[in-house]
Subunit: 239 residues, 2 copies
């Protein structure tokens, strides 16, 4: 993919890059797009030189030995602090996602003082790309916007879904029989997260491969969104 | 795959099932095997009628409206209780994995009162399958033993790796440049977990598809194990 700038037509870029790679987008495909290019196309880039740190941001930045303007940008996208310890800032974003630094980072953002924010509404971003791909190719696809998450208890990061359109993000096996005809009680698979993780394996942080096309997966049909992947706080044992 | 029983040669079963599916196992493949068949082959099935609940198991089971023998089986595999609330029992297993019910469940286990435990040492299980596949096919593969995990903050389950052989489970981008030559500071991807998630998408809880062969993925080379995926408690913000 070329460098993405504010206002770029991501759907068109995806179709063009697909053609150059010999990939035709077809109905049933799952198109996984990393958050970073969506944020860039939507102009969700902040120049830290324009950010005025609050008293809290200054205080936290001092303790964490971090840039107070970056901390301020994080707090502005935050609805709840989950952990604030050592130099870690784990927060719940306005969308409900629990992640480090409200998903704000500078990797692969051009310029010294610029950081990317998560899209305002990643489900809407996914739906917009889905519609554009339909217009351009006639194909009915599912679209997932992915981002990189750390996890409690486990080392390393994985990609999960933050925006979903054209599929249900969860496959629900509850009530179905297992192979010995016991009823399966608790198996609800977050397939949109698994698709995002699978896609990450063929992307590359350093090269310009921010999109993966997954073929041959039979998605749970229906309209769904990534808000279904956010555990309500009253059911959450860890908030 | 056929039904797996204690003592079965899983490596041989995988090669046979591959042949029947037209899949040849080749060097560089990643063979993902679900925990359930590994536990069965290793005889890690417990008949609850032989389990005597402790006082604690009886007390917890009463509060949770659960089978005290099942609770006892869980506690016997537990090294630390992480959350005990409503009917949820989130524990750290002897291996260090944080999961519900110490990974013990009855789905796809034959018989009314039988449950499967996690393998004693899933890394050793993975290495054993890897060696057997090498013997049978000459191919140098990576092997991942996968299991289904719930997550803090997010709905639904995904598959992660509990055993790894023949690859490093983590791809470390730290110190490498991003596309604007900034140094990437924090990006350490748990690719073994992402491979386990990708594999789940082509498995099926109800059918007999407990193994997936992933082709064309360039694994981080080297000897690694799933213990590298366990966050040390002193670095963990959520234990």
């Amino acid at each position: 993919m070329p460098l993405i700038r504010k206002g770029d037509d991501l759907g068109d870029q995806i179709v063009q890059a697909g053609k150059e790679s010999g990939v035709t987008i077809e109905s049933g495909d799952v198109v996984v797009v990393t958050q970073k290019v969506v944020s860039k196309a939507e102009g969700r880039i902040v120049n830290l030189s324009a950010v005025k740190p609050s008293t809290l941001a200054n205080s936290v930045a001092l303790q964490m030995n971090r840039d107070p303007r970056h901390v301020e940008a994080i707090l502005q996208e935050t609805s709840r602090i989950i952990r604030m310890k050592d130099n870690h800032l784990i927060v719940e974003t306005k969308h409900g996602f629990v992640c480090a630094n409200a998903g704000i980072d500078r990797s692969n953002v051009e310029g010294e003082d610029r950081v990317s924010l998560l899209p305002e509404d990643p489900d809407r971003s996914a739906e917009k790309i889905r519609r554009r791909l339909k217009e351009l190719t006639g194909a009915d696809v599912a679209v997932i916007i992915s981002d990189t998450f750390g996890r409690a208890w486990r080392m390393g990061h994985v990609n999960f879904a933050i925006g979903v359109a054209g599929m249900k993000p969860i496959r629900d096996y509850r009530g179905e029989p297992d192979m010995f005809s016991h009823t399966l009680h608790v198996t609800v698979m977050a397939v949109a997260d698994e698709l995002a993780s699978a896609a990450e394996l063929v992307m590359n942080k350093r090269d310009r491969v921010p999109v993966a096309i997954i073929k041959g997966y039979r998605c749970p049909m229906g309209e769904g969104n990534a808000r279904e992947l956010v555990r309500p706080i009253e059911e959450d044992l860890f908030r």
